[in-house]
Amino acid sequence: MKTFLSVLTVLAAIVAFWYAACVPMNIKGVLDTAERGGAEVMPATSKARRDMGTFGLVAGNTFAIAQTWEQDRPRLPAPHQVVTELWKTTVMKKLTSKRSLVYHAQVTLKATLMGFVIGTGLGVLLAVGIVHSRVMDMSVMPWAIVSQTIPIIALAPMIIVVLYSIGVQGILPKAIISAYLSFFPVVVGMVKGLRSPDAMQLDLLKTYSANTSQGFWKLRLPSSMPYLFTSLKIGIAASLLGAIVGELPTGAVSGLGARLLAGSYYGQTVQIWSALFAAAILAGLLVALLELIEKIVLKRMGMQQ
């Protein structure tokens, strides 16, 4: 409840700031339109306005302020424009329509989930290998880090083409790009988690002469749980980003990535923003779902007080 109130206040502050920011951001566009419409603008030509500070423009043309929140192609769309667009493209459209964000979100979601499963599965396996094998630890870990310094957006088209040339197409290439982004946080988190038992806890098992698999199931895995969930939450957000990036070199025909791109292509800022928000909301929902599972699991395990 308290959280809710705080979030609400912060949101209100952000929205207020956002509306205020719209004024200087959009004033030039508004004045250009107004000038073309024959209105009296100060200064009169677009060229002169270009060299003026935005706040000076606002001060000189107070009549235009209201219009900065209603522009067609604003530099910064006003909150209500984004919300309206979101509303129009989710609730007001048939779910199967190509213009429905829900439809596009669902396309992206499929690739995201598939990539997430592949990525986290691989990440966990790799982490287990790294914790149990010195060779893996010493040779793979540095390269896992290097792999993340490679700009995926440059690699994505090539991944798609290479997979294409060996006959893999459809959702899988996108999922692989998504997995590429999500495996790393899981590896790092799980390695940390699997190594989190302290010396005494490990020594205890040694005195029982427990074997490696017992050590894994009875000590390492349970103590890695909080780390696992933290990295899963980062991982799913990364998966979503990966799926969106993966949509671009497959022709960006559908999915949130396609919406983002199309919006960008036609300078439809409102559409970009609403697709952006849809992506963030989707990520939020996925993370919230994981959080719920985390709560249940940790409670069952007695790790949450």
Partner: protein, 308 residues
């Protein structure tokens, strides 16, 4: 039916109306073809896709195709539905630009990703450096996907296509007399756009050649239908746009403009146009796209057979 995969150069839009019309009107199935149209995008190099076996035939601009050929990817032009170039440079009138001689010391938006070659040739012909702003140089920006750099006045001029970006500038509320445009056709540096290209080795296969004949025939039928029924063609394009981002108004206008560019072509490559393109590219200044006259970069076998 024979499968054909067509890779487009850009996203689904009226620029490719002929193919969508042929698909939708059943021209392809009449020829016993099962055609899949793969949309392109900013992150897709059609030449790379065809090299990887992802497509049988691709829509590409000739400079990029010839460049790929020199890089060791033997692409061959089998048909040329676009007769003339739609590329132009669009500037604000109020910046004082009246002719090409006013371009130095300006900031220009240019498309890269294989589309920069005509611009480079033009600049080299004008003797303008693209390295830095100055008396004899311009500042070049890698333009993104849209016309914002012009609208936001981050650039004095940007590249536009007659059928697409130029319309977007007008849609933003700008009137044509606020702008001045330099068509590449008028500047004598036009290069061929939107031809159909296949891998050379495939042409040794009679079955493939036969397939392509039928494909070109049906595509041209689609193009001619689209030219004469622009609104219907635009509608078909809209139906095929899976992203749901295109608007009817924009596609209808695009179709009309595109029709002007395809009007002069029956599908066969005009060798004079080809040679003019090669000449332009060879003159491409310090780092020309191609360094020697290409051999075997086109063939009339298919268009001849298709159009007889």
């Amino acid at each position: 039916a024979d499968d054909v995969k067509l890779q487009l150069k850009w996203v689904t839009q009226a620029q490719f109306a002929g193919y969508y019309v042929a698909l939708d009107k059943g021209f392809y199935s009449e020829e016993d073809l099962d055609v899949t149209i793969l949309p392109g995008g900013p992150d897709i190099a059609p030449t790379q896709v065809i090299a990887g076996g992802g497509a049988d035939v691709t829509v590409e601009w000739m400079p990029a195709a010839l460049a790929a050929r020199e890089k060791g990817l033997p692409l061959v032009n089998i048909a040329q539905p676009y007769k003339s170039s739609g590329m132009q440079l669009t500037c604000w009138n109020d910046t004082g630009i009246a002719g090409p001689e006013d371009l130095p010391n300006r900031t220009l938006g240019v498309w890269f990703f294989g589309n920069e070659f005509p611009f480079m040739s033009w600049m080299s012909k004008l003797g303008i450096s693209t390295e830095a702003k100055g008396e004899m140089g311009v500042e070049v920006l890698k333009q993104g996907f849209n016309v914002d750099p012009l609208l936001q006045r981050q650039a004095d001029c940007i590249s536009t296509m007659t059928y697409n970006e130029y319309g977007q500038v007008l849609d933003a509320g700008v009137s044509p007399d606020e702008l001045i445009t330099f068509k590449y056709e008028d500047q004598g540096v036009a290069t061929l756009e939107d031809g159909l290209y296949v891998l050379e080795e495939n042409l040794d296969d009679p079955a493939f050649v036969d397939k392509m004949e039928r494909f070109v025939r049906a595509s041209m039928k689609g193009w001619k239908y689209a030219e004469s029924n622009p609104d219907e063609a635009a509608e078909i394009v809209l139906d095929n746009d899976a992203s749901g981002a295109q608007t009817e108004h924009h596609q209808q206008r695009m179709m009309r403009e595109v029709a002007k560019l395809t009007a002069g072509s029956n599908g066969a490559l005009d060798v004079a146009d080809y040679e003019r393109t090669v000449k332009t590219l060879l003159e491409g200044g310090s780092s020309p796209v191609i360094t020697k006259t290409p051999e075997g970069a086109w063939t009339h076998i298919i268009s001849d057979a298709a159009l007889k």
